[in-house]
Symmetry: C2
Subunit: 206 residues, 2 copies
DNA sequence: TTTACTTTCAAACAAGCGTTTGATATGTTG
DNA sequence: CAACATATCAAACGCTTGTTTGAAAGTAAA
């Protein structure tokens, strides 16, 4: 099955949309810029997706994030190792600069600036992610723990991770030589894992 | 010394600007909305501040954040206690909902969406804050530590803190009953302090 | 009161936005 | 080929944005 010409511009639009949305946010992105990058007419967005909102809804795609979680569960490792593995692949998704994976970056954008699509993002991607992490943290602590306390540990972990993405403009100015290459990302991931696991071990019986 | 009529609308504009900027971000805020809340004409912003950019520059004010740091240094306490004190007052600044202190919230906004004022914010407020925290962390660990490692600890701490502000729209949807009252903020601050200090103690000689 | 200066205001401006339109091209089907 | 549905396009629409304008109102000193 080959692509019809309309399907071709559709996928070009979706790809360009992910690029621009993840870079500029939904508000900052313009339909004209997306169409320019997709070599398409301004009217193409509304023809194929109905509206800018519709384009965003179709551009969102949580498969990478979900794959990350199911792979992690499938991995036959102890909870602490699985935590390390998760953080590493999560940071790669979040920071990879020439990324085929703009999905998480779009989500990180939406988190600060709500759009009509935020409800979908929360219920389909963020809520499951939080539950996944809460479960993993419970396994690591291995001691019954207050629900609200587990939740705050999840927030502490995710807060550390998304910080590098959300505050990238600031970090860039603080340390202009900073580049998110594979090596740097892995170093960051290792720090976050060390930091988080150390904090979690305290809560565990001795 | 009393306020001239022009000074009065100036301060009303500044107050309204802080309100709207902290709620909507710079891009999302409109001059018309600010003027509406300040009971001023649309032209008032350009008359008094030259432009929307100029209004932002004057609305920014880092005195609360600086006072927080100097008070903390002045307090005659051990580093760990000072860390707890700092986190608590920082979270109060960040989360206080009917806040006279919109300053930190504006800064948190800027961090995700760069504006022409970001350079000023970084050099005058964020860089000193990071240095302050780096020093505090070094005191807590009390062992010579790699500069990049200290920096990442600073990021871990700040990341946890600003998460509650930047991801507020998400957390609101995840837990609609969430309210940032005094008690909740203090509980959050205590968690972050416990979490962070536990992680830092690991790095310290036994 | 007159003069000079500052502040406010309704109105308009130019530019950018998402979206719509109607014509033109393209492709598919009988 | 003819007929029809689909896809693209330049152009324009209606709206909002930050900003400017020039007149009116207010203020203070001589």
């Amino acid at each position: 099955m080959t692509l019809s010409s309309s399907d071709q511009t559709r996928v070009r639009l979706l790809e360009a949309a992910r690029e621009v949305f993840s870079q500029c946010g939904f508000q900052g992105a313009t339909v004209r810029e997306i169409c320019r990058r997709a070599d398409a007419n301004v009217a193409a967005v509304n023809y194929h997706f109905g509206s800018k909102d519709g384009l965003l809804a179709e551009a969102l795609n949580f498969s990478a994030l979900k794959a990350l979680q199911s792979d992690n569960i499938a991995a036959d490792r102890c909870p602490e190792i699985r935590m390390r593995l998760f953080i590493k692949s999560f940071m790669l998704l979040l920071l990879d600069e020439n990324g085929a994976s703009r999905q998480c970056q779009m989500m990180a954008r939406e988190m600060a600036d709500p759009t009509p699509a935020l409800d979908k993002i929360v219920s389909e991607a963020i809520a499951p992610l939080h539950e996944f992490l809460a479960k993993l943290i419970r396994e690591i602590i291995a001691e019954p723990l207050d629900e609200s306390e587990v939740r705050r540990c999840v927030y502490s972990l995710i807060g550390q991770c998304v910080f590098y993405r959300n505050s990238h403009p600031v970090l860039q100015r603080l340390r202009p030589e900073l580049r998110y290459d594979q090596q740097e990302i892995e170093a960051i991931a290792e720090h976050i894992a060390d930091f988080t696991l150390a904090a979690l071990r305290i809560k565990r019986p001795a």
